[in-house]
Subunit: 230 residues, 2 copies
C-alpha cells in the first residue's frame, strides 16, 4: 500500500510541481485547496485543472474567510505593488497574515481523517518574496507542533511530516523539475493581479520571479496567451 | 496604553472565564469565535452574550467549514457518548481533528492585524477530556511556531505569547475564578448534546465535568432551567 499524503494545492506553479514530485516519489496524494476570499478566482480553477491532470482522486476545497481580518493586498482592496525591487528585505503588502499557518492547520485535520502521515507544501525559501512563513525554520517548528497536536501522534501510531520538497530550490529549478515531470504549466497561475481572462500582469513580484524562471530555460511562460490570440 | 490580546471565545465556560481573567489582568481584549459547522448554534449565541456582558468592543466570528473532513461527533452526524468513564485515557469521538490548531491559527492572523502580542485561550489540561491539543507541551510548541510565522516576530517588533491562564486549573477552580470575577455562567454552554432550547443533557463528558465543578462550590449549574420552568 502506498503511503498517503495531503498536498496543499493553490493553483500556483510551486504546488503543481510539489504534487507531481510527491506522486513521483510514490505517495497516494489527496489535495486541499482554499476558497479564502482571494480576489482572483482563477487560482481555484487552476487548482481544479491540476488535480484533474494529475489524477488526484480526492481534492477538497475548504471555504474560509480570511477577509475578516483584512491586512493584505491579496484579500483586501489594496493595490498590488508593481516592478518592486525583488532584493528588498521588506515584507510586502501581498503577505496575508498567518495564511500558511492556517492552510497547514486545515491540512493537519484532513491528514488525520485521510490517514496521511505527510503534508506536502510547495513553499520555497529562495525566491519567496520575503514571507516569514515560508522559511525552513518555520516549517520545522510547525512540524514539531503538529506532532503534539494529533491523535495519531499521541497514540504513537503515526508521526507527521511537513514536507516542502521545493524549499531549497530556486524558481528556475522548480520550473525545471516540473518540466521533467510533465507538469502542465499553462494551467497554473502565479500573478497577484491577473486580468479578467486570467492573463498575468507581468509586473508584480510573482510575475517577475516566474518570467525569469521560464527565461532561464529559454522558454516563455506557457500561461501567457500567444501574440494575436484573443 | 493597555497591552492588547485576542481571546478565543467559544461560548463555553472556560473561555468566558479566560476572557474575564485577561481583562482583569489589564488587557484590552478583542474576541474571536468560529462558526465551524458545529451542530449546536447555541454556542455562538453564548459567545455573543459573553462578549456583550464583558464589554468586548471587537468581537468577530470566522466562518470555516470543519465538516469538510468529518471525523467527529461535534461536526458530523455521529452520536455523542453518554455517561462515559471520565478516567478513560482514550481520545473520545467528540475530538475534532486539528480544531485547536486551526482556531489558534486564525487568532494568529487576527492578532497580527489587531496588533496584539497575546492570544488567550481557555484550554485546560486537567479535566480536558483527553484531547491531545489541550496539553501544555502542545501550547508551548504552538507558541514557538507562531514566533517564526508572523511579520512582527520576524522584524522583532513584538513576540507572541499563547496564554492559557486556566491550563493548570481543575474545572472546579475555573468555576471558582469565574465566580470571583462575576462571570455570568448562565450564558455559557458546555454540553455536547443540548436540547432544542439549549438545555444541557447532563450525561456527556462535558456535562459530567461541569456539574461536578458547580457541585464542588455547593451550586447547581445556573444554565439549567429551574424545576417547573418551561
Amino acid at each position: 500500500m502506498k503511503p498517503k499524503a495531503v498536498v496543499l494545492l493553490s493553483g500556483g506553479l510551486d504546488s503543481a510541481v510539489a504534487l507531481a514530485h510527491a506522486q513521483d516519489a510514490g505517495y497516494e496524494c489527496a489535495a486541499l485547496s482554499f476558497d479564502y476570499g482571494q480576489r482572483h478566482r482563477i487560482e481555484l480553477e487552476c487548482a481544479q485543472q491540476q488535480a484533474l491532470h494529475q489524477m488526484v482522486k480526492d481534492h477538497r476545497t475548504a471555504t474560509i474567510d480570511l477577509r475578516l481580518f483584512g491586512g493584505s493586498a491579496l484579500t483586501a482592496d489594496v493595490e498590488v505593488p508593481k516592478d518592486r525591487d525583488l532584493t528588498s528585505s521588506e515584507i510586502p503588502i501581498t503577505y496575508v497574515p498567518a495564511r500558511n499557518t492556517i492552510f497547514l492547520s486545515f491540512a493537519l485535520g484532513f491528514a488525520e481523517v485521510f490517514g496521511a502521515g505527510t503534508i506536502v507544501t510547495g513553499m520555497n525559501a529562495v525566491d519567496y518574496s520575503g514571507y516569514p512563513d515560508c522559511r525552513p525554520e518555520y516549517i520545522a517548528a510547525y512540524e514539531r507542533m503538529a506532532n503534539l497536536a494529533t491523535k495519531a501522534a499521541v497514540t504513537g501510531e503515526q508521526a507527521l511530516r511537513i514536507w516542502a520538497p521545493l524549499v531549497d530550490m530556486s524558481k528556475a529549478e522548480i520550473v525545471g523539475r516540473g518540466l521533467e515531470l510533465g507538469v502542465n504549466f499553462a494551467d497554473t497561475t502565479s500573478c497577484y493581479d491577473p486580468d479578467a481572462q486570467g492573463q498575468p500582469c507581468g509586473h508584480c513580484d510573482s510575475c517577475l520571479h516566474r518570467d525569469a524562471a521560464f527565461a532561464a530555460h529559454g522558454l516563455t511562460d506557457p500561461r501567457r496567451a500567444p501574440a494575436g490570440a484573443s
